[in-house]
């Protein structure tokens, strides 16, 4: 066996272990996040939130998960069976892979060190959109179709400012490797990238909401208009996979935001994965805060915001950064 073969084998084992670990991480995170969302929503609305299942409702999500798994997997009449059941998997799988390049902590807490970490995450985010498209089409339901069309247009549109704002940081740091970007930031908030590029952070946050279909950009799942958008016809675990994919995507984009702008796992004292998680959950709380405050943006206004405001701003930002990096 040559060295290269061993190297490849070790990498493969590392990837497999990482995938399994991230599946578990996503599972636990979704459990916590769904409960957090409902409790946070309750607090904003001056009510308790889930309370009965487990102490203060802490086992609520577990009960919901068990319920979802026990439900009948029903395929609507006239639906394309293969596409219908492939859609949740196609939506969920790329999210797991997106976790790989993210550095959770200083040394070995990265799934897979990749020099093009950022590009990998963005590429797999686009794959998720494909799953939504399949879901809407194969459901044999007009409402799902409309929801899927909206979701695809929205996700594709919001990737552009997302990419541009990420590129601004990459220009500044000179690398697409997330660990290097973390290493380039200091421990204190004024040493993080957000202090250097607040505009890019703002664009990133808005595109983050648009990319993950979260309010105020949640038209594809607009409950009050389309009943449930592209996942109307899914029951049980099919819906469960979409649900998990949505929350996992939220965690991914918040992690990317933390790494790029908020200093990753660095903190004033005791660097480590706890700072990372704290910052990710802080960003997630902000996302939830937005959801429970604002009404929904209409679809054409949503695209307007993107094409007329975010993209030009992001381009200008990029130009400015490029200029400053070259000249200064």
């Amino acid at each position: 066996m040559n060295v290269l073969g061993i190297h490849i084998a070790v990498e493969l084992i590392q990837i497999v272990v990482a995938v399994v670990a991230f599946l578990a991480f996503i599972g636990v995170n979704v459990l916590v996040l769904v409960l957090m969302e409902r409790k946070v929503a309750g607090r904003f609305q001056r009510r308790p939130g889930p309370y009965e299942v487990g102490p203060h409702g802490s086992l609520q999500t577990l009960a919901d998960a068990v319920k979802m798994m026990a439900k009948e997997l029903h395929t609507p009449r006239g639906a394309d069976k293969v596409l219908f059941w492939a859609a949740p998997i196609v939506t969920f799988a790329p999210v797991v892979v997106s976790f790989m390049p993210i550095p959770f902590g200083p040394k070995y807490l990265t799934g897979w060190e990749v020099n093009l970490g950022v590009v990998l995450i963005l590429a797999f985010a686009s794959l998720g959109v494909f799953g939504i498209c399949l879901a809407g089409w194969s459901s044999n339901n007009k409402w799902s179709l409309i929801g899927a069309a909206r979701a695809v247009a929205q996700s594709v549109a919001y990737e552009i400012p997302l990419l541009l704002s990420v590129l601004a940081i990459a220009f500044q740091v000179g690398s697409l490797n997330l660990s290097e970007i973390t290493a380039g930031q200091g421990s204190w908030p004024w040493q993080w990238n957000v202090a250097v590029q607040p505009l890019a952070f703002f664009i990133f946050v808005v595109s983050m909401l648009g990319e993950t279909n979260r309010a105020p950009f949640d038209l594809p799942e607009a409950e009050s208009e389309l009943t449930a958008g592209f996942h109307t016809e899914y029951s049980g675990m099919g819906f469960g996979l979409f649900f998990m994919a949505e929350y996992a995507a939220m965690v991914v984009v918040c992690s990317v935001g933390t790494v790029l702008f908020l200093g990753g796992w660095k903190g004033p004292v005791f660097d480590g994965p706890w700072w990372f998680l704290a910052k990710v959950y802080g960003l997630l709380f902000v996302m939830m805060w937005f959801r429970w405050t604002f009404p929904r943006v209409r679809f054409d206004q949503l695209l307007n915001i993107n094409w007329k405001w975010l993209t030009p701003l992001a381009l200008l930002n990029l130009l400015a950064v490029a200029f400053l990096v070259k000249v200064v």
Partner: protein
Amino acid sequence: MVTGSDGKEHAELGKSPSPGLFREIRKALEGLWSLVVGLGVTGNQFYRPAVTVHYPRQTVDNLSTYRGPVELVPSDKDPDTSKCILCGMCAQTCPSGCIEIESHQEEEPDAPEAEGKAAAAGGDAAEGEKKAPPKRKKKIKVMDKYLLKFHLCSLCGQCVQVCPASALRFSHEVYLAGTSRSDFEFDLLARLRAQRRGGTGSNPGRGGSG
């Protein structure tokens, strides 16, 4: 900006776009500020306590004015019976037809302090001089059951209002739960007697919490 023929304003063509652009940017910034203000409002509410009443750990405290199912008012003379004079007005007035009264006729008892209508004949017993022929015993109506089909009742209050003897009033029970329709067919006379014995006789199956 010029006013067009349809009364709406349009941007003039040929003019420099900058003033429009600045206005757009200003509007956008004002809009963003309004979003921040909105976030401030919900953020403020986040720290305040819940306004909901966490049933069953807490219960509401303003039931004393609530229109619950009707109940019979006990008579002053015999608290096991009600003031009802069995005229049937309530059953006639009820829009939903949920009241049914069962009664039978009885001879009036001898006691001089017999109640209600029989009191009118009681005056004769006091006079001892005139030898009146023995009175025919008056027939009075006695209530057997006062059936209220609460699942039909709309709590309109017509029965309470129209009763000439003020024998009906609203109770304040809200903790009524049952598993079948017949659980909500109350016999108000039985409930009155059960209340007197202690326990409200309210929920079939619950201890009754008054």
